[in-house]
Amino acid sequence: MISLRIFAIGGLMSYRALFYWLTFWIFVPGLVVAPVFQILLFAYIGRSAQLQSDEFYVVGNAIQYAAIPALFAMSQLVAGEKFQNTLGAILVSPAPRLPLFFGRAVPVVANSVFVAAFALTAGSLILGIDIPASSIPALGLVIVVAATSCTGLGLINAALGLRIRENAVLSNAIFGFLLIFTGANIPLSELPEWMQAVSNVIPFTHSIEAARELADGQSLSSVIDLVGAELLIASVYLAAGFLLLRFFEAQGRRHATLERS
């Protein structure tokens, strides 16, 4: 029971504490306006190249953009604690690790889900794309799984951020990497084989494919194996992120790098 409290309160509090600066002016441009423009950008590029449909780009980019909160919010959480020298204090406390760290993950997942859902809705409305109402619950599920998966990647990124100085560059690079490899804007069949192999083991690829099918009117059962694949990826990345975080903290304690000097 205590674990549950730590999980809920700890996560929410640290999220709030470190986002006191997340004022309206950061929130709105970065998480609400930008994804819509990314969708429009690629939809129009698609029209210029006369390739895929608008729907292809809307779904792809809406989900891919959920990487932003997953990467940056999680990095801020972990790095921010180091910055405010609270990470050391937390690690010294006897609180169990697992609920503590997943307590941080949940607000981030929620943030990502919101971003993807909003972007998908706004993009569809603006470009006049019809998504069958029956698909919406299933789409919701796919988005949640995708967000969880990418939050795992965000945990890994945040862990690495404990050791490297300019974490923002890495986060931006991962975002760009996802832009290419997840099939958000390029059909997987267009990518060389080695790239397709990579696509299969990263977050979003399966979810984007599933979401496109659902938007076309397919049923949940026809995409369930894609969802399952994404769930598997989510578990692997979350576990890896958690372990990496613990490893770097232990290292940080050994080399006294946990506090901001």
């Binding site: 004022t23 698609g46 210029s48 390739l51 560059v169 931006n172 690079a173 760009g176």
Partner: protein
């Protein structure tokens, strides 16, 4: 003459500093390359060499714009972090002559982005870049850098009240990519968007660069681009007076 030297020396040292920072230097170049790669994949399917060249140039200028939009808005905040903003304001010249070289230096990084994108196109995607009017091409690039930097100057002055100036600057990255005619011809955009494109210097810089490369007439576009740059500087200077005296009144020049 003295003014020109002041601008040149200021530009030189600011550019030196930015180039020496991995975050502000390399980081600026790498990020747009991802978008360029996506663009290359998308346009490769079309197989027309002219289209690919068009895409290559478009992506290259996207990178140039990115270098300015993501950094210029934050120029004054950056000086505050260094602890140098007060020292700069305390100097005799009009602060505009101090700030403009900073945003120009930031947009000069765009040349690295341009070269990197064209290289990516050439060596990874096999897009041959032949430039019909090399001298005008170079001129168009320099002119674009200057006018992007001027727009950056306007951003820097406008955003100075906002603690999260960097977030506001980023807000202008995608929209300009969308309506600047980089990878999306203006004719494809809804008619009401086009006037907005026309008052953006990047639109004309892109056009000038493209015309110079593909063998058209870049000069009118280039002149329009530079003219708009001048307008941005004028607007920025007009705002700067009010911004600075407000800062002096509020005591907001130091980091506190």
């Amino acid at each position: 003459m003295k003014t020109l030297r002041l601008l040149a020396v200021g530009w030189y040292y600011q550019f030196k500093m930015i180039s020496r920072s991995p975050f502000e230097g390399i980081g600026q170049v790498i990020y747009p390359l991802f978008f360029a790669t996506v663009a290359f994949f998308i346009f490769r399917a079309s197989e027309s060499p002219r289209t690919l060249l068009y895409a290559s140039l478009g992506a290259a200028v996207m990178g140039m714009w990115s270098a300015t939009s993501t950094t210029a808005g934050n120029a004054m905040q950056r000086e505050r972090w260094h602890g140098t903003l007060e020292s700069l304001v305390a100097t005799p010249p009009h602060f505009g002559l101090v700030l403009l070289p900073i945003t120009l230096a930031m947009s000069t990084i765009g040349i690295y982005c341009l070269v990197a994108t064209l290289a990516l196109g050439r060596f990874v995607f096999g897009i041959d870049l032949t430039v019909e009017h090399p001298l005008l091409f170079a001129l168009a690039i320099v002119g674009s850098v200057a006018s992007f930097g001027s727009l950056g100057f306007l951003f820097a002055v406008s955003f100075v009240r906002f603690r999260a100036a960097w977030a506001l600057g980023n807000l202008f990255e995608y929209p300009v990519w969308l309506i600047g005619g980089f990878l999306v011809p203006l004719v494809l955009l809804p008619p009401w968007v086009r006037p907005i494109s026309w008052v953006l210097a990047p639109t004309w810089g892109m056009s000038a660069i493209r015309e110079a490369a593909l063998g058209g007439s870049p000069l009118p576009d280039l002149l329009l681009c530079l003219g708009l740059g001048g307008v941005y500087i004028g607007l920025g200077l007009a705002m700067l007076e009010r911004v600075l005296s407000a800062a002096r009144k509020r005591g907001a020049l130091s980091l506190s």
